[in-house]
């Protein structure tokens, strides 16, 4: 596949870090979940309005496919539903005792999944304690009814639905993936990869890292995982930028591909997006070492097709419906306040055209 040129067309900021984002179907409005609340932004004008808050960071946002409502989930363990016409909250529901690390809406719009879990010291080597609450919750998107409470090992940091909305997958700190059938809540597959997790040797004798983003491929046969390779000192944040592609439906799930050795620099990757038409996916995160922190890859060959060096940590990636644009959201470091006590905005939004 030929290399792809990425040309920035839109660039604006939000007051604080963006942790989740979702473009409306008409592509005029960007919904973002930020450290300080839920925002709606006019893509054309680059103006933003805060429409709601959680009592902590907002970690995930999504539109329901019919665009009638949008959702937010936060580090307060709460999920909120909003009427798109009025921007008023129509439901607030406590779904976790701890954070919602990540949330997803099924492609058919019927289901919502959210994942949680606090990493607590379990053993002498800081193995995680067993979960104190169900780590994966699947809800009915319309009623908010909790359909399934599914077990995992905390902290569970990434979740996604299969393209046919039948399966939900969740990945955790320890690099363990579990996939359940949403029809009956049965566990369909599970495996572990230790290539996303670090046990600290240098500074800290504990586990850090894990899977931070995951997406099914359009045929549903494979699961993409993103994160960072293991480090001696997890707090250096200098693990290899990493994606892996797993064939999950066979009895023994198999890693069929991963980022080419020479393609990855250093830094935690925490965003994935699949192109709606072409066999392309995007991965992004933080640049710790190397020359890119967001890139496009060939879904079949794994070849790297384009790179971006955004100058900020990428927390969200999305393709437009026609596949012609890549929406990149994220955050710079929080600046020091001015003498007057004001803060320069540090949430970042960029749109790129795919040449």
């Amino acid at each position: 596949m030929p290399a792809i040129e990425l040309k920035r067309t839109t660039n604006f900021r939000l007051p604080m870090a963006i942790l989740g984002a979702s473009l409306a179907a008409d592509e005029s409005t960007l919904l973002t979940g930020c450290m300080d609340g839920v925002y709606l932004s006019s893509v054309e004008a680059g103006t933003s309005t805060r429409v709601a808050q959680h009592s902590s960071y907002v970690s995930g946002v999504a539109w329901l496919p019919d665009q009638s409502h949008y959702l937010s989930a936060g580090y307060d363990g709460q999920m909120q539903w909003f009427d798109t016409a009025t921007n008023k909250a129509t439901r607030q529901q406590q779904i976790h005792e701890f954070w919602s690390w990540d949330m997803a809406v099924s492609p058919d719009g019927r289901l919502i999944a959210s994942v949680t879990g606090q990493y607590l010291a379990g053993g002498y080597r800081y193995e995680p304690q067993p979960e104190r609450e169900p780590s994966v919750v699947v809800l009915d998107a319309a009623s908010g009814e909790i359909l399934w409470k599914l077990p995992h090992v905390p902290s569970v940091q990434a979740v996604c639905f299969s393209p046919d909305s039948r399966y939900v997958a969740a990945g955790n700190l320890m690099g363990e993936v579990r996939i359940w059938d949403c029809n009956d809540g049965s566990l369909r597959s599970s495996w572990s990869t230790d290539e996303f997790t670090s046990w600290g040797i240098i500074k800290s004798h504990c586990y850090l890292g894990g899977i931070f983003a995951m997406r099914f491929t359009p045929d549903g046969q494979h699961l993409l995982l993103a994160g960072m390779g293991p480090m001696h000192d997890p707090m250096a944040g200098n693990g290899k930028q990493l994606w892996q592609k797993w064939a999950w439906q066979q009895e023994q799930p198999d890693k069929v591909a991963q980022i080419n050795k020479d393609d990855g620099g250093e830094g935690l990757m925490e965003a994935l997006a699949i192109h709606p038409q072409k066999p392309i996916f995007a991965m992004g995160g933080r640049l710790r070492g190397g020359d890119w922190n967001a890139a496009l890859f060939d879904l079949n060959s794994g070849e790297r097709l384009a790179t971006l060096k955004t100058g900020y940590r990428v927390t969200g990636l999305q393709f437009s419906a026609d596949g012609n644009r890549l929406i990149v959201t994220g955050t710079q470091g929080q600046p020091k306040p001015s003498r007057e006590g004001s803060w320069e905005p540090f949430g970042r939004v960029e749109f790129y055209e795919l040449g």
Partner: protein, 443 residues
């Protein structure tokens, strides 16, 4: 000093305590017979309890190396841009909140003293560790002794077989802390006041007498070694031989106390209560060592608090562990009647920035940070000092490392303004510049 059930303790079996047994059996038979099953039991004998009290106070330093965030511990700023993702909870002290990650400490705040107005100079680890463990910045070529060495020298018993200053730290690495650990801890006090290091991979090897050597043979060998070495030391006026003799004496003491360093000998219920992590387990071991004769135990675990990345992911685990350790330690010490004599300190070398960096971390911040003291000599239920609304600077009652050390020394009954009496040493005091202790924190 009183203690609770003997099932919590084990006799380390040292000769000193054999001597105690003889004393008890000869002089105080009624109490002695009941008391010989454990170290703790010995202290239930009034004469020995008085002797123990006379020996002075003890100290456990929970060394939070790498520097914890004040926002996620003692000085939360809910609703501000610097707050981080965790909320604040009310403590039992009216109007005082701590991080939601510290519910157990919130419930015993009447026993704790928190300083929220630490303001120090070093912003890098090595210098920060140096200043906050020694109480002052360096003045080469002189090396100020670390807090544990001073306390061991002032309050400890050099002739005790139980190490007076113990460092429990299972992490062999630790970046700057590793470099610091390789340095001179006891400074001008001399190596005998340095720590015995144990924990994890630092389990002290070869402390158990091989089964092939009987106790009698072991004693005979040691007597012969001691006789020959002393003779050589005297005949040759050899300082090296004296050093070897001191080292052998220390090893002999350690051998007699080997069970104190074996985590597996601690009651399973206690181990579960403290929590599974290495830091928790060694905090329990610290209590055990203090109960059995150590004077200063420093508990560390590498440098885990240095969260330039994964700040929230790490603090969600580290702070609850610390919270539980503080609760269990203070509860145990109180139940054993030891809290009034045992100072517990929890601190790192500085704090963390109010602002988050791009890597979801907080960086080094000495300008305004927090720490905790409790127990021996410290007034509980006090929150001293304050920071401004976003925690960017100290708003009242600034405290530097000298005032902190003056407070610690005073709480332990050590004169902070006393001069070190060491030949050929320039004038140095326990605390320089006449820094005054914080009266509000002292009993």
């Amino acid at each position: 000093m009183t203690t609770s059930s003997t099932s919590h303790h084990r006799d380390c079996g040292s000769p000193e305590h054999t001597w105690h047994r003889r004393l008890i059996l000869q002089g105080i038979p009624a109490a002695g017979l009941a008391a010989t099953s454990s170290f703790a039991g010995l202290f239930s004998v009034p004469a020995l309890a008085e002797e123990t009290r006379r020996q002075g106070k003890k100290c456990i330093l929970l060394w939070l190396c790498g520097a914890p965030s004040q926002f996620e511990t003692w000085d939360p700023k809910p609703g501000t841009p610097t707050s981080g993702p965790f909320s604040a909870i009310q403590t039992i002290l009216p109007g005082v909140q701590v991080s939601q990650l510290m519910p157990k400490s919130a419930g015993i705040m009447d026993k704790l003293a928190v300083i929220r107005s630490m303001k120090t100079e070093p912003s890098e680890h090595f210098q920060g560790i140096d200043a906050l463990t020694r109480g002052d910045t360096p003045r080469p070529p002189f090396t100020r002794p670390i807090l544990g060495s001073v306390v061991a020298q002032q309050l400890g018993q050099l002739d005790s077989p139980v190490p007076q200053f113990v460092l429990l730290d299972p992490c062999p690495e630790g970046n700057e802390f590793k470099a610091f650990k390789a340095g001179n801890w006891a400074g001008w006090l001399g190596a005998e006041y340095g720590p015995v290091r144990a924990g994890g991979e630092y389990s002290i090897p070869n402390l158990l007498r091989p089964a092939t050597i009987s106790e009698l043979e072991h004693q005979d060998r040691e007597s012969l070694r001691r006789f020959l070495s002393r003779k050589f030391e005297n005949d040759q006026r050899s300082e090296a031989a004296a050093g070897y003799n001191a080292a052998f004496a220390r090893v002999q003491g350690l051998m007699s106390c080997a069970p104190l360093f074996d985590l597996d000998t601690l009651p399973e219920a206690d181990r579960r209560r403290y929590g599974g992590g290495a830091f928790s387990q060694h905090a329990l071991q610290a209590r055990h060592l203090i109960e059995n004769g150590s004077t200063f135990v420093m508990v560390a675990n590498g440098m885990p608090w240095d969260n330039h990345v994964y700040q929230h992911e790490m603090h969600q685990m580290l702070v609850p562990e610390l919270d539980n350790v503080i609760f269990q330690l203070l509860t145990d010490l109180e139940e054993r009647g030891m809290l009034d004599d045992t100072l517990v300190i929890a601190m790192g070398e500085f704090g963390r920035t109010p602002w988050l960096n791009e890597a979801r971390g907080r960086d080094h911040y000495p300008n305004a940070w927090s720490m905790m003291l409790a127990g021996g000599g410290i007034r509980g239920g006090v929150v001293y000092g304050a920071t401004d609304p976003m925690g960017i600077d100290v708003a009242e009652n600034e405290v530097d490392q000298r005032r902190l050390f003056a407070t610690i020394f005073t709480a332990l009954g050590i004169d902070p303004h006393a001069e070190y009496d060491i030949p050929d040493l320039p004038t140095f005091f326990h605390v320089e510049k006449s820094a005054e202790p914080i009266a509000e924190l002292l009993v």
